[in-house]
Structure formats: C-alpha cells, structure tokens
Symmetry: C2
Subunit: 134 residues, 2 copies
Amino acid sequence: MDMQQTLNDWHRMIAARDLSRLEDIIHPDAVFRSPVAHTPYKGRDALVLALSTVINVFEDFTYHRQFFTEDGRNATLEFSANVNGKQLKGVDLIEFNEDGLIVEFEVMIRPASGLMALGEEMGKRVGAKLKEFG
Amino acid sequence: MDMQQTLNDWHRMIAARDLSRLEDIIHPDAVFRSPVAHTPYKGRDALVLALSTVINVFEDFTYHRQFFTEDGRNATLEFSANVNGKQLKGVDLIEFNEDGLIVEFEVMIRPASGLMALGEEMGKRVGAKLKEFG
C-alpha cells in the first residue's frame, strides 16, 4: 500500500459516508492534532473517534485542491463545509509512513466563527471521550 | 517568472525580514483570506498590509513542509510561530497565475488559543485599516 492507495480508500469512505474500515488505513500509534485543542490526541482510536464524529457534524462537506510534498509521504486536502449555519474552509495535513498508513492527521479551520461552531459541536459529542487520549 | 521563482523570492524576503519588494510578486487583484474573518480582503494593498504586519506579530516564525498541486499552480506552506506566549501552527495556501504572480493567499491557524491571540494582535494593529478592503 502507498499514500495514493490510502488516499483513494479515504475518498471512497468519505463518498460512501462509511468509515467502518477506517482503522485499516491508520497506524496504531497515529497522532491526531485537532483544529481547536493544543494538545495532540494519541493513538488510532482517538483519530477514528474524531473523524467518525466530524463527518456527521459537517454539512455539505466537499474536498477541493490536493497538495503533496515532493517525497510523496505527505498530503494536504483542502475542504469546505457548514456547521450549524456557519461556513468554513479547512485543510487535512496527513503524513503517511513507508507502508502508506496514516501516522499523523492535523486539521486547521478558518474563519474563527466556523472553528468555534465546530469546536462547540465536537465538544458536545465527544469532548470528554477525546480528552482521555490527550 | 513561475511559481517556484516567486516562492524563492518569498522565502528570501521572509528570511531577510524585508517585505519592501513584496508587491512585485503579487497580482493587483489578489485576494487575501484571513484565518479569522469570513469576508475576503480584496487587492494587493490589503495582502501587503496583512503580511507586512503579521511578520512583526509572529515570534519564532519557521516554515516546515511545502506541498504542491500537480499543476504547479498552488502551494501550501506549513509554519509554526508564537504570538504573545501562545504556540500556533498554520498554513499559507497560495494560488499563482500563469505568470507566477500570487492571486490568492489564504491562511489557516490552529489551535483556537493561537488563532485568538493572533486575531487580537492583528485587530489592534490593522483591524480598522484592513476592513476597508473587505
């Protein structure tokens, strides 16, 4: 498996809104860096929980540009979505290991109003649970 | 001029902390999308004002990974910095036209505490002035 295969799997899962096989493409020691919190969340379970929740929070989620590092081990996926009536833009910064597994997943969101709406909604749904991985 | 030349110029300006020639690499109709505000700021003057101010607000500013789209017309530059004691990570999403000029510059910042610190400091320094370009 390489990065491109993993990305294809990822896009298929998102299009089908079915993340039941998500852990197949994530390394057990993966790190999730949230757009809201400073402290990273550690381990595959944290990342699966965060991503499985956020796809139900985002409305009208659409990917746009894809950017890659020259070594083919890092990707940036640009997206737009709405959360509780607030429009937002964001990026997924994803690092892959040599086997194509996701080892780091970092999310950034703009503008501030969109980030706050997302943070509030994620806090309600998984805030306490996610903190256990901090 | 192409994207790579413009990026080389940009990195030289940042390293020298001298943005006096910044407008040479920006299209007159460039758009700046701030990490804080929803409404984009229009025109080269707005982008020059924002970038010239932010390099004085960021402490310990460092670029990390660089990502590119396959068409060679878009780049994502990952960075870290501190603002008033808050650590932050960010990305510059830059679109170039066929002449290598910057036509769009979008910034995203995490975590929320870093974004708030940046927004507060930028607001104090150029908030009213930037709004004129909204």
